[in-house]
């Protein structure tokens, strides 16, 4: 089951608009693990490097009450040792070859990544395969790591904006929604997890059928596939199929739980929150284009009007994940000095949204959006991590990494009628809540 996809064979003609510039291959192991390899040549002569990423289809969406924060804590525990190798051994082996290694957790996914010399790739794949099946959570190590995660939580709430975000997050979703609790979880629950709870979570969510592997770098795909078969392939698990976005949690016509918040900081923020379609939804590309062109790009309609021309706001920023498995809520923050006159900002934003609903987006802005995407894909091809991320997002959310190659076409296919309809469905006045966040009196 070997496939070859050459996105663009010759990098020297890469100035033309296209997607990735290096060949990509994949194989599916018998245990259900897909391995994707992108052959990106070395930048510096002499030593090739590779990005290795293992994507697990587990995130805070998979937590229940009482285990809030488990997915993120697990990201930490995966570096703390297996039945075969201690955490120190993992660290030492990675460090001894100069690897950069880390991990991150979102609502939907947990990703482990290493950037290291190609000569050390086999070793890293062996260690990744080992911790996919042999993790050993001891209560002693868990006790220490719980405190570290607790400290990460405190670091967050020591920052005024992060604290505000955490407080606000509790207002966004109805109870039972997969994104109802922030990824960091609840401190009191995190600091009382047991090793039994951890192993249960591990056994449920860490297996080849619920993961995929991406390697981008100065490698030959045939060599990588052989190593993958020897390492990850040795993990026997019956492949499991999970439907994308399984379980529908409609967000249209829902509302946030409050429209006023105070914070201990001398700024005022209007948070515009409205329903957002999941990545698999037919409306996704039109919605994403509206978000960029109207709200979040540096030269978005609102950044140009409010920040650069009218000088009534410091910035308009979209926070939160644009791609999600489930219907979610946007959070667009408009930063301003505290002033009763800020009401005109709220009015201006409503005007611009209504204009998009009535007339669509300015065609020049849509053209610029596409031009930017095309040029960005060439600029972004410098980074192995960037390529791995693009492939991973397409594989995760569309079950097909090749979608990354045609992503721009999906945006190009968006029409003004799509824009008007999607803006009307998701951003009409009844759908938009504005949380007014300001300093306490």
């Amino acid at each position: 089951m070997k496939r070859l996809l050459i996105f663009l064979s010759c990098i020297f003609i890469a100035e033309q608009a296209s997607a990735f510039v290096y060949p990509v291959f994949d194989t599916l192991l018998a245990n259900g693990l897909k391995v994707i390899v992108c052959e990106k040549p070395a930048t510096v002569a002499g030593e090739g490097f590779a990005e290795l990423e293992v994507w697990y289809r587990v995130g805070s969406k998979d937590e229940k009450d009482g285990t809030r924060g488990m997915a993120h804590l697990f990201e930490h525990m995966m570096f703390r040792g297996t039945k075969n190798y201690s955490g120190e051994t993992f660290t030492h082996r990675m460090d001894s070859v100069g690897a950069e290694w880390n991990a991150y957790t979102t609502f939907d996914r947990t990703v482990y990544h290493e950037f290291l010399p190609v000569a050390a790739l086999d070793m890293a794949m062996m260690l990744e395969a080992d911790r996919m099946q042999n993790l050993d959570v001891t209560q002693e190590i868990l006790d220490t790591e719980r405190e570290v995660v607790g400290q990460e939580y405190r670091n967050g709430i020591s920052n005024w904006y992060r604290k505000m975000q955490l407080d606000r997050y509790a207002m966004l979703y109805p109870q039972g929604h997969p994104y109802a609790v922030d990824v960091i979880g609840n401190l009191d629950e995190v600091t009382s997890f047991t090793s039994e709870q951890c192993m249960k979570f591990y056994n449920e969510h860490y297996s080849p059928g619920k993961a995929f592997v991406i390697i981008v770098g100065d490698v030959k795909h045939s060599d990588v596939f052989k190593t993958a078969a020897k390492t990850f392939g040795a993990i026997y698990v019956v492949p499991e199929q999970i439907a994308v976005g399984s379980g529908y949690h409609p967000m249209l016509n829902t509302h946030v739980k409050g429209l006023e918040m105070n914070m201990d900081f001398p700024l005022q923020i209007y948070c515009f929150s409205f329903p957002q379609p999941p990545a698999s939804d037919k409306d996704f590309f039109a919605f994403d284009m509206i978000m960029s062109v109207l709200f979040s790009d540096d030269n978005s309609i609102l950044n140009e009007r409010l920040v650069k021309e009218e000088h009534s706001a410091f910035g308009v920023v979209s926070v939160g994940e644009a791609w999600s498995l489930f219907p979610s809520r946007t959070q667009v923050d408009v930063f301003m000095p505290p002033s009763p006159g800020n009401l005109r900002v709220k009015k201006a934003i409503r005007e611009e949204i209504d204009d998009v609903i009535a007339n669509g987006l300015p065609q020049e802005k849509m053209n610029d959006f596409i031009s930017n995407l095309e040029a960005s894909q060439i600029m972004g091809a410098y980074y192995a991590e960037n390529i791995a991320h693009e492939l991973g997002m397409a594989e995760y959310y569309f079950r097909d990494y090749k979608k990354a190659d045609t992503m721009i076409d999906s945006y190009k296919a968006v029409t003004q009628e799509d824009i008007k309809r999607v803006a009307g469905d998701y951003m009409r006045a009844e759908q938009v809540d504005v949380i007014n966040i300001k300093p306490a009196e």
């Binding site: 002499g46 400290q151 600029m379 410098y382």
Partner: protein, 453 residues
């Protein structure tokens, strides 16, 4: 004929092999008619050009009353010029996915532009217009000042920021440009005319060196450089010679700054580092990386006191000191100070193990060899820091030569356990019992930095 070809091919391969371990390519030096110096270095295979202008101006150039001037000047620099309004400039950049960014630190300011080769005319036009003809509009200046003041109030920022600001203050003092911090009464007095004057003096072709990396057509780029920057002239030609003294740190000194309701305690330790150009530099950087790992291992991995603790030093922005910093649970603040001393004492007395030296050398070597983009590569060439490029080319060989004896030598010089300045920022009420254990603790009022000397 075949044999000759094979011989040539072999020679080429041997030659390529001998050179392949050095990440630094040959550099071509080029000078515009107005004296602006350009360094060209090929990097990567994508059709991208990265233009990096290194200006010899930073916080070090701010005189008393000018705190925040460099930051303000560089921020407003990209907010519109005589040729492009801010909106036009940003629209053009977005369309070509180009990027023009500016950043400044204690010692210098970098303006970088990245764009596809096919857009080089547009990219260079935007860059030169921003650099040579900024407007510094009153409204933009006022708005930036308002934003900085709102987001930097000392009674509102978090404890780690406080510890950093007051760490500079206790290390350098108010008579030193790196010891001062901007505050409302002073910052509001900065006028647009002063910003223009600061710009005119410091942003000149003679006070700038340019590094162009990527894979560009040099003939075309030289034509573009002459076209875009050739007409740039300024009354101040030579490099700024502004330098500063690095204060001695001879004893252990403890300072506390109160942050009401702080969730945790922030701690910084400041110590002397080698001066720029010191022969100790490479060994010191390696030693400090090992020290940072030892701190992390003891205070995070073993004790779980913190999410992270790092001993930071930047050769690129060398202020003559290095600083460890962390945030810990309130109840373990004093234990963290003790743990730090244990690690420092041990490091000084015993030095690192060979395996840890090997690890850090591997990490730093990989850091050099794995650079992927031309902009990051330009930072390795930074001509204001690395004045003799020929020495950069030998850095990997120098790495290989470093042994425990060389590392221990710098440890005895810079990691002395009896001299550092510690600043603790946090909730005074909660921390008070622990603070009383610190002899000669100096408590700092927030307003102590709101003076010009």
């Amino acid at each position: 004929m075949k044999k000759i070809a094979v011989v040539f091919l072999s020679l080429f391969c041997v030659s390529a092999f001998l050179e392949e371990k050095d990440p630094f390519p040959e550099i071509e030096k080029y000078k515009l008619k107005n004296g602006m110096e350009i360094l060209f270095a090929d990097f990567g295979q994508l059709p991208v050009t990265s233009v990096n202008m290194f200006f010899n101006v930073g916080t070090k150039n701010e005189t008393p009353g000018q705190q925040g001037m460099c930051m303000l000047t560089t921020d407003v620099l990209l907010m519109g010029n005589e040729k492009y309004s801010r909106v036009e400039q940003d629209r053009c950049l977005f369309r070509i996915a180009g990027d023009i960014s500016v950043s400044s630190n204690s010692n210098f300011t970098i303006v970088s532009a990245d764009f596809l080769n096919k857009d080089s005319e547009m990219g260079m036009g935007l860059l030169s217009s921003a650099i040579m003809k900024p407007l510094f509009r009153q409204q933009d200046v006022d708005e930036q000042k308002e934003f900085y003041l709102a987001t930097n109030k000392t009674d509102k920022i978090d404890a780690s920021q406080l510890a950093g600001i007051y760490g500079d203050y206790v290390t350098f003092g108010l008579q030193h440009p790196l010891g001062r911090h901007f505050y409302e009464a002073q910052f509001n007095k900065i006028t647009t005319a002063q910003i223009r004057e600061f710009y005119s003096f410091n942003f000149t072709p003679g006070n700038c060196k340019v590094v162009i990396t990527g894979k560009c057509d040099r003939v075309k780029m030289k034509e573009l450089l002459e076209k875009c920057f050739g007409g740039w002239s300024a009354p101040y030609g030579e490099m700024n010679s502004s330098a500063y003294d690095i204060p001695a740190i001879k004893d252990k000194e403890y300072f506390f700054v109160a942050k009401a309701n702080a969730e945790q305690a922030a701690i910084t330790w400041t110590k002397r580092a080698p001066e720029a150009g010191s022969k100790d530099m490479l060994a010191f950087r390696v030693a400090n990386n090992i020290f940072s790992d030892y701190l992390m291992n003891e205070i995070r991995e073993k004790r779980g006191y913190t999410y992270g603790i790092y001993s930071a030093f930047s050769e690129g922005d060398n202020t003559g000191v290095f600083r460890a910093s962390t945030q810990v649970r309130n109840e373990v603040m004093y234990s963290t100070l003790e743990a730090f001393d244990v690690v420092l004492n041990d490091f000084y007395a015993k030095g690192p193990q060979q395996k840890d030296l090997d690890k850090i050398k591997a990490r730093m070597r990989a850091g050099l060899m794995s650079i992927e983009d031309p902009g990051s590569f330009a930072m390795l060439i930074n001509p204001l820091v690395y004045k003799d490029y020929s020495k950069r080319k030998g850095v990997l060989a120098e790495f290989d030569k470093l042994d425990l004896a060389a590392i221990n030598k710098v440890i005895k010089k810079y990691f002395t356990p009896d001299s550092y300045k510690v600043v603790i920022a946090g909730n005074g009420e909660v921390l008070n019992a622990q603070l009383t254990k610190l002899t000669a603790l100096k408590r700092l009022e927030l307003g102590v930095i709101e003076r010009d000397e």
